[in-house]
Amino acid sequence: MNWISNYVRPKINSLFSRREVPENLWTKCDNCGQMLFHRELSNNLNVCTNCNHHMPITPRDRFTALFDGGIFTEVAVPRPIDDPLKFRDQKKYPDRLKAAQKQTGEQEAMLVAEGEMGRTPIVAAAQDFSFMAGSMGMYVGNAIIAAAERAVELKRPLILFSAAGGARMQEGILSLMQMPRTTVAVQMLKEAGLPYIVVLTHPTTGGVTASYAMLGDVHIAEPNALICFAGPRVIEQTIRETLPEGFQRAEYLLDHGMLDRVTSRTEMRDELITITRMLMQQPPPVIADLPAPAEIESGAEVADLDPPSEPEKA
């Protein structure tokens, strides 16, 4: 089966595509109440400069910060069939999808890209909580399979940023089936001997946690991220007990053996570079900022960006 069969040559993301933020807007931190200058906040990857509270970040902004020079190439994701169950609750499923697309400007709840991070070639996938709560439907399943297949093809590690409210109920059993499907994707990586690193971000819950988010070689979480299968409210209702402070938060899971590390978003990139390079038996990363890449004409060949350090292709 070839998931890349309808692969279209992706456009290089413009170096300068970073969304312009109006100069004089302020955001209030929903944790400490501090008023934060918009640009200051976005330069700090939506982490409060006062209290280190991690606010949501879109996959596109995350990738812009993750990849060298903000340059990445999107990996095409095969589109699943539309509305397989003809599902309707209070709204029709296609209407909910359209609303999410309009609201986020994205096609679906996951973005997959390839590029370099500290001159380390990687494939990355990031889930978009702002798109229908990042719910895992067939598209997200296809995205993870496409990411794994691309990583195997290029012999690169896969770094996956998870964020989801759980399964997409509007796809019924087919969303549940993304648990085994994405597990197959993880197995492809493992068999190819490639690192699979999961960065668990707030919140990572439900079937997502119970599949690809918990199958990494290394599990890193952002501080205070809620990570669980059953959410705290469901548990409180079931056991009629109040849960302890910090229950199911990243630090708590670290204590309970589910995570390797809890790392601030602002330090995540350096840490990912360090870990992936060791696992790939590449030389230590270059410390300090890389020089800005030479200006790239739009439409430049991707091959031009290949670094001298790219590992031998067997």
Binding site: M138, M169, G207, A210, F229
Partner: protein
Amino acid sequence: MTNYLDFEKPLAEIEGKASELRALARENEEMDVEAEASALDQKAAKLLTDLYVNLTPWRKCQVARHADRPHCQDYINALFTEFTPLAGDRNFADDHAVMGGLARFDDKPVVVIGHEKGNDTKSRIERNFGMARPEGYRKAIRLMDLADRFGLPIISLVDTPGAYPGKGAEERGQSEAIARSTEKCLQVKVPVISVIIGEGGSGGAVAFATANRVAMLEHSVYSVISPEGCASILWKDAEKMREAAEALRLTAQDLRELGVCDSIIEEPLGGAHRARDVAMQAVGGTLRTFLSELTPQSGDELVSNRRKKYLAIGSTGLAA
């Protein structure tokens, strides 16, 4: 003593009347009630057919959860010999919601794993109503590894409302345990056969039901979420479970069409609980067929066919 479901109330009345008549006749030898009683029998049979020929999805959920429906332990007793339970996850505990061990099916050794809900208050509590904790999945993983090492087919009998929403279960890594169990199902180089015998509840079911062949009993259900749960989230009203059950397409018939279920095992009229042995033997027949199809395949073929099957799921939806 039959336990009737709410929609079977008219049936309960007729069957009740017939058995009352017969009880009277036993006490009073001059009475001849047989004609009247058998007329009631016929009426009951007709009603039973009418009720069950087109069960709504919500009614199927009720039948799937019926207290008298054969459970995992019943199937093991009826279909397997030399069952030798194996316990523990070698990590934290032995989970009584999940049973498993070595057994023989048609004299050939297999590993059998399943959820057990229990049959009375005491055993239901002990079995946690069939809701596994992480130790249950880890026990299953250990058993699947055992099966893999020794080349024994794996048979799983799925019957769970879902994973257990408990504090301890989360602390001990419920998600990781389910993920690993699903992963193990996909990895082993032996045949994996799963039968949804009652409720296939969400991740707790997937953990055991990711198989080369998945069969479902005619009135069993398999779903991403319970109808009640779905209704309370999407309709903001748990009482909308009938609508949710409809929308979720969780019946064996819909799942057969979606390719999630490979085969439907017919139940006796009125559900498996009305003729438990017939139902269990039908499951035995399906296991036999599946084993004969899968045993000739090599380990690598089994793994690759299993994967292909899951990668292909979702390529077609249901008709409008």
